[in-house]
């Protein structure tokens, strides 16, 4: 437990990504099993103890500390777990002996009933110092807020055991905490974990923005870029799962789609919702948001927002891995794969018949469907490669200009919005991996989305500066704007004209938001 609480404290005070990587990989290398696996799960947000509630932590503190003194302290500290950790009476015996290990604590937390949870936590805290108490409460209630994404966790693992991160990505989603097979493999004590019959995620192939390049349509093929959620459907015959961009399992939110996929294979497509109001055509991203992130969906919701997948690509046809094959080869396979699927739930993304690049531009400008975000250009000879490799795939978004930005600060609105954090400052990445603010927006979202963003701000506050809150840099906002200009007043060097939030990209990891350099290229 001591090693974990030290790690957590060091992560809190370490700003650089490399520093964090070094700390985590050192810990993973030296800590014992299963502690390190649980810690890896906790840092990357994969750990959940449903019977341990934040309110239990608060109530438990009230039994030891006067309520007024607790509230005054909580107001000052700003975080309940930290307040409890700091205010908890120290053990009068002084020396702390026999602090249980992370593994023992996880076992106890997982087994405890809701009513016994406060007592368990209190007993553990009595045996700890304030730093361990803080680590315990963060472990138990989640929300480490130390800026470690799942991706960073995997990179740290790769670093610790001198492996390639893509190999870890391959098996990661098939494994459960505390990842003992993964560590055994990393240490060379076991073979690569066996994944037969387990539906698991394969990293997506991604596109670069086209910017002002012109491509030869003899080498590239074009199709629509649909405005939904990029999704991977994995069927093993026994089970089917849906994974989002970051590899999150979103099957529970889309049982209608998963149940309809009976084949064996892995396909890549865009998850869309059929809107009544759109004459059965694909509805916009906002409709899809209604379903995303739900652990359960009602029958009413299934009926109102029926989902389907428009397929772009095929990675596995039955057991055959097609990723080394050319796009043209895979397209053939996809065209014979799709007719075997439920037509209600699966169709194929059409290829655009463009004579040449200028013609494609006309087609793109002529697109009126709200569900079209732009066009994709794919090299006909390219294999399916994880990540973003130059020259293979390009996305060519439709006007207006949009950029994916990361929320940095939020401020209360005025008038009827004064109780909501509705004004957002967002930023893009620099060369050195820092976020620089690029603009501020307070419109473009629905009331329901505003509530969601407001909740995000409150639950992810890092700092308060008067009416302004600095938030955890995890929320990606797609910002639409009319134009962008050079600006000396802003640290980023750019200023947007009429920015507004066009979409909330809960499906997108912050690390994949746009770069300031990309925005600079949009300057007209």
């Amino acid at each position: 437990m001591r090693a974990f609480s030290d790690l957590l404290d060091n992560l809190i005070y370490t700003r650089s990504r490399n520093g964090k990587l070094r700390l985590i990989s050192d810990y993973l290398k030296h800590a014992p099993d299963p502690d390190r696996g649980w810690v890896l799960a906790a840092l990357t947000g994969q750990l959940d103890f449903p019977t341990v509630k934040a309110s239990a932590v608060r109530n438990m503190a009230m039994e030891r500390v006067d309520e007024t003194l607790f509230k005054l302290s909580r107001d000052f500290v700003g975080d309940t777990a930290e307040t409890v950790a700091l205010i908890w009476p120290d053990n009068p015996e002084g020396e702390l002996t026999e602090i249980p290990s992370v593994g023992q604590i996880v076992d106890e937390l997982a087994a405890v009933s809701r009513s016994d949870a406060p007592k368990l936590l209190a007993n553990l805290m009595d045996r700890m110092g304030s730093n361990e108490r803080y680590a315990l409460l963060k472990l138990a209630t989640g929300g480490m807020r130390v800026g470690v994404s799942a991706r960073l966790g995997k990179i740290a693992f790769a670093l610790a055991f001198d492996m390639v991160v893509e190999e870890i990505e391959e098996v990661w989603h098939a494994l459960e905490p505390p990842y003992s097979e993964l560590f055994a493999w990393g240490e060379g004590k076991a073979d690569r974990p066996d994944l037969t019959g387990v539906p698991f995620f394969r990293p997506f192939m991604l596109a670069h923005p086209l910017e002002d390049k012109k491509l030869d349509m003899a080498d590239y093929v074009a199709e629509w870029k649909w405005d939904g959620i990029r999704v991977q459907v994995v069927g093993t015959g026994r089970e089917t799962k849906l994974f989002s961009r970051g590899g999150d399992d979103i099957t529970p939110a889309f049982p209608d789609v998963a149940d309809a996929f009976k084949s064996i294979g892995v396909v890549d497509g865009e998850l869309l919702v059929r809107g009544e109001f759109q004459g059965g055509e694909a509805a916009s991203f906002n409709a899809l948001q209604q379903r995303l992130g739900r652990k359960k969906v009602s029958t009413k919701m299934l009926a109102e927002y029926p989902a389907f997948v428009r397929l772009y690509d095929i990675l596995f046809d039955d057991e055959a891995d097609l990723r080394e094959q050319t796009w043209a080869y895979r397209r053939d396979k996809l065209e014979s794969f799709v007719p075997k699927l439920d037509a209600e739930r699966f169709d194929i993304s059409a290829i655009l018949e463009a004579r040449d690049f200028d013609h494609l531009n006309e087609i793109r400008d002529g697109a009126r469907d709200a569900a079209i975000e732009g066009v994709m250009l794919k090299l006909r000879d390219s294999p399916y490669i994880s990540g973003r490799k130059t020259g293979l795939w390009y996305k060519w978004k439709r006007d207006p200009l949009v950029a994916d930005c990361v929320m940095m600060y939020a401020q209360r609105g005025s008038g009827k919005r004064s109780s909501f954090y509705s004004d957002y400052t967002f930023g893009c990445w620099t060369e050195n991996g820092e976020l620089y603010p690029v603009g501020k927006a307070y419109s473009g979202f629905t009331d329901a989305e505003l509530k969601m963003l407001d909740r995000f701000v409150r639950q992810n506050t890092l700092n308060r500066f008067g009416p302004v809150r600095e938030v955890e840099k995890t929320m990606v906002l797609e910002v639409a704007f009319d134009s962008i200009h050079q600006s000396k007043r802003h640290k980023s060097g750019v200023a947007m004209r009429f920015p507004r939030i066009s979409r909330i990209r809960t499906d997108k990891p912050a690390a994949e938001a746009d770069h300031v350099a990309t925005l600079k290229n949009m300057i007209t």
């Binding site: 404290d9 809190i12 700003r15 003194l69 302290s73 700091l86 120290d90 700092n463």
Partner: protein
Amino acid sequence: MTNAAHWIEPHPHGIYIKPADAWIDPSRAVSRALVTHGHADHARGGHEKVWATPETLAIMGLRYGTNSGCAVPYGDGFELGGVKISYHSAGHVLGSAQILMEYQGERVVATGDYKRRTDPTCAPFEVISCDIFITEATFGLPVFKHPDTADEIQKLLSAKEANSDRCILVGAYALGKAQRVIGELRKAGYDDPIFLHGALEKMCHLYQELGVDLGDIRPVMDTEKEAMLGQIILAPPSALNDRWSRRLPDPVTAMASGWMRVRQRARQRNVELPLIMSDHADWDELTQTIKDVSPSETWVTHGREDALVHWCALNQMKARALEMVGREEEDD
């Protein structure tokens, strides 16, 4: 409310002693000022007449050019308008004093700022019994429990050991904290030179003139970048993230302050190495001091009054909060 000590009036800009026509730590210029210690929220320039310890007068001389003042050594007394006044050590910074006032059989102590633990650079706190105890409450919340100072110094020394290719830049306030960090390092047996930001030099030299041994201290300004590799450097907190620090070899940013107990506070300051070292009493010391002094009434000022007043009520002690201006975030 209370009838106790009707001859003392708390005002937003200071505590007024009516029969003496004098103010304790007034925040505006007055004709007669009794100053507890040299921090800017207690000592200001421009008063006509000042009573303070010789050390505090020297500090005020350095900061405000105040050179007329009545020096009152610890334990000495004088009379002003029938009020017997004496100064007693507060353990906060060099020269810091509690002011004891006796009038018509009533004893009132105003602590100024104080701490209870030992400090190699100043005299220790003295418990003085009284009827009315006017206490500070900078860290007046039960979340504030300052850890053992020696452990924090070890944290600093281990960071120094682990970063021989960098340097450790410690943010510390110019009066008191900077000299205490140096003093505690010396106490721990650390003899290497300690490097100073220009803004700390004069005060450190004044401490040395007043007999506090700080060992080998050197200005950063005259030192080559390479010579500071693996060394400890002190600077005022405002200099931690400014361009001045670019002359240092890849500094690890540390800060010595009681506020470092709260993680988000440390993060706000971009601190990598928080050192929880305070020149103020923590919660346990504040409550213990009230018990030790055991006054018939406690007046709380300077910080988070609410919690301490509430604690007194819980323990059947009489207490009230004084509203003072300009003392919100203390110099710690």
